[in-house]
């Protein structure tokens, strides 16, 4: 079975092996033992709550308990941009109108901004190709929302996730070619490498700082603003189901969208419920709303230091959940313990 859990120091080697599989495009998970080691150390201290909340980096691994293999990784950074500026372009609107000429022109503009400074960031999601099936991707991505719903006081109200931007053939970024290249005079790949080395803010110093009309860019560049890389589209959809939205912030290089949410408006905050492990009373069970027999549910324990989560088919009924013995073991829980539950899939209001 698969369980998602807080990372441990002993996961470092497995993490490194996984990082070698990631390939280019994810700048926060590079196969660099020093960088990964530092990061795991911060993550362990985060779960142990030995560093201040705003410095924390909660990293989770998905473990295949049959083999002990690490199948995936994901993380929540408490706050971005507090030690180095965090840049985005924000898309705004400016209207130019002249009644005399009967002209009313609505222009999109790009503003270089640090608006997202201090936000909590979802990042570093990677699922090993061997495990890309069924609900594994959902489990891995959504575990973070359940964690946030369990410990909301640890996070800022603003939650973000940067999505990889659109690329054409051979990794060419039309947005970069239309904008960044004029100011950097270097290849996108080189920029990407520098970004991975943590030099992002220094590159941003070279970007135009004055508001920029999108109409100045070539059509090809305009077309991809806020578009994700095709391979990232499923990950984007998962986040959107949880209440994250594209609100006009994009990456300064490839114009990939930043998804945003208010923590208090997340589906996990609205709909996740606590339940005691055990059998439901007869009456409660009888009145349970009819659901598909195998509707999957995310279930986590409520323990920060040893946070664990899995996908169950047990449904919570009026505050109780009949969690199978094996799943209780994986969550390090017992009958009578409280767990947090959230339906894996979104139930839309059928009345609108």
């Amino acid at each position: 079975m698969l369980v998602v859990r807080a990372i441990k120091a002993s996961d470092l080697d497995a993490l490194y092996v996984m990082a070698t599989q990631v390939g280019s495009g994810m700048t926060t998970l590079k196969p660099d033992m020093k960088m990964l080691g530092d990061r795991v150390e911060v993550a362990v201290a985060s779960f142990a709550e030995t560093i201040p909340p705003e410095e924390r980096d909660y990293m989770f691994v998905m473990e295949d308990t049959d083999t002990g293999r690490i199948a995936g990784v994901c993380a929540i950074k408490s706050a971005v941009g507090l030690t180095e500026p965090f840049y985005n372009y924000r898309i705004g609107t400016l209207v130019h109108s002249s009644r005399e000429l009967g002209v009313f022109t609505r222009m999109e503009t790009l503003y270089l901004s640090n608006d997202l400074t201090g936000s909590t960031e979802l990042c570093s999601l990677f699922l090993h190709p061997d495990y890309r099936s069924g609900n594994n991707g959902k489990l891995l991505s959504k575990c973070r929302f359940l964690f946030i719903a369990q410990f909301p006081h640890l996070f800022t109200e603003k939650l973000i996730a940067e999505m990889r931007g659109y690329q054409a053939e051979a990794g060419r970024s039309p947005f970069y070619e239309g904008l960044g290249r004029h100011f950097f005079k270097m290849d996108f790949n080189h920029v990407d490498e520098l970004t991975a080395l943590g030099k992002k803010s220094f590159i941003a110093e070279l970007m135009p700082r004055q508001p920029l009309y999108v109409a100045y860019l070539p059509q090809e560049a305009r077309d991809v603003i806020g578009m994700v890389h095709p391979s990232t589209a499923p990950a984007r959809r998962l986040l959107e189901q949880e209440g994250m939205h594209f609100e006009g912030y994009v990456d300064i290089f490839d114009a990939g969208p930043v998804l945003q949410a208010r923590v208090s408006e997340l589906r996990a905050m609205r709909d996740s419920t606590l339940a005691q492990i055990g059998l439901a009373g007869d009456w409660d069970a009888a009145c349970a709303p009819e659901t598909a027999p195998a509707e999957p549910v995310l279930v986590s324990n409520t323990n920060m230091r040893d946070f664990r989560m899995l996908l169950s088919h047990a449904a919570p009924v009026n505050g109780a959940i009949a969690l199978p013995e094996a799943e209780q073991k994986l969550l390090h829980c017992h009958t009578g313990d409280t767990v947090r539950t959230l339906s894996l899939n979104v139930r839309k209001n059928p009345n609108v």
Partner: protein, 345 residues
């Protein structure tokens, strides 16, 4: 002989004929008789006005052949550009982008909508008959406006500028406009120029044009190439003006990207080289053997009596008087003992 003098009512017909000649760009003569008449009347009022501070005056000069009284050219100057509003232009800015860690420093060229030229005196319309293109009279006509400013400094600002028409294609399109103004005005270059009447001081410019710098590297190649380029018809004017001391790199036109030349009067040869000399009568054929003669523009009069002519004579630097033949005195309407201003052409 030719004389440059303020326009008169009697010149209207001749100006109409000149206006019929194709003159590209924004600062040309109007085409209709009514507009030309208004222009002439405004000029006459301006020359007649007693001015303490430059304002809405506009001075129009003509180049007249004294032989047949033909009008062979015209040039004008506004006392204060945008005087009933603001004169807008794009300033050529350099924005510094520095990354210490990457050890990169870029100078990025940007255009900023600005109103700095407001209140400068503006040299405007300049047209000279093709037969005189290479004659010193072309330089005289261009120079006469500044000579007048030397003679009547209180009528003008400390700084001067001249917008020159930018390049357009065979269809009257402007690559610079297409890359910039069109996006905001949503119309063709010629339509926009027609609507705005060649003016650069209208509120609708603030309403429609971008308030933020335009980064030049983002403009298409043809628009970048058009920046600061003059329409071929403006070459003569451009050469005369740069020789005069005008500089071309700081501003361009917001519509077609044509160059706007500007200078402080202290940097202009007409001002720095103007010699004030008393008039002396001399024989019709002066002795030219003493020293190599020099061609001078000679002007007089700080109002409607302004006149300017070209004349070659010995260098005047070390002389207190200038010897003028009777014909020249007549053309300038001066006599023995009067004062004239002389500038090497």
């Amino acid at each position: 002989m030719y004389v440059v003098r303020p326009v008169e009512i009697a010149d209207i017909a001749a100006l109409e004929a000149l206006a019929a000649v194709t003159m590209p760009g924004v600062h040309t003569l109007p085409k209709t008789r009514a507009q030309i008449t208004a222009l002439v009347e405004r000029s006459i009022a301006s020359f007649a006005a007693h001015v303490d501070m430059p304002s809405e005056e506009s001075y129009l000069f003509v180049l007249e052949s004294l032989a047949d009284h033909a009008i062979l050219g015209t040039a004008s100057i506004y006392a204060a550009a945008g005087s009933n509003g603001t004169y807008f232009s794009f300033r050529n800015d350099v924005i510094q982008q520095v990354s210490r860690d990457l050890n990169i420093s870029h100078s990025v060229h940007a255009l900023t909508l600005c109103s700095e030229l407001t209140g400068y005196s503006q040299l405007s319309t300049f047209y000279v008959d093709p037969t005189l293109q290479d004659a010193p009279e072309a330089a005289l006509l261009s120079r006469a406006r500044l000579l007048f400013a030397v003679l009547a400094p209180q009528r003008f600002a400390e700084r001067f500028f001249v917008p020159l028409a930018g390049i357009t294609d065979a269809q009257g399109g402007s690559p610079f406009w297409d890359a910039l103004g069109r996006k905001f005005f949503q119309m063709d270059f010629l339509d926009a120029e027609r609507i705005i009447g060649g003016a650069r001081n209208r509120t609708l410019i603030v309403e429609l044009m971008p308030h933020y710098p335009v980064y030049v590297p983002l403009l298409p190649g043809d628009a970048q190439a058009a920046m600061g380029q003059i329409h071929p018809s403006g070459e003569l004017a451009f050469n005369l003006l740069t020789a005069e001391g005008f500089e071309a790199d700081d501003y361009i036109d917001i519509f077609d990207g044509g160059p706007i030349l500007q200078a402080h009067k202290h940097a202009l040869r007409t001002f720095t080289g103007a010699l004030q000399r008393r008039v002396a009568t001399c024989p019709a054929e002066p002795d030219r053997n003493r020293e190599t003669p020099v061609t001078y523009a000679i002007g007089t009069g700080a109002d409607q009596h302004f006149r300017a002519v070209v004349m070659a004579c010995a260098p005047l630097e070390s002389l207190a008087v200038v010897a003028l033949p009777a014909a020249v005195q007549a053309a300038l309407q001066v006599t023995d003992g009067d004062t004239v201003v002389c500038v090497r052409l």
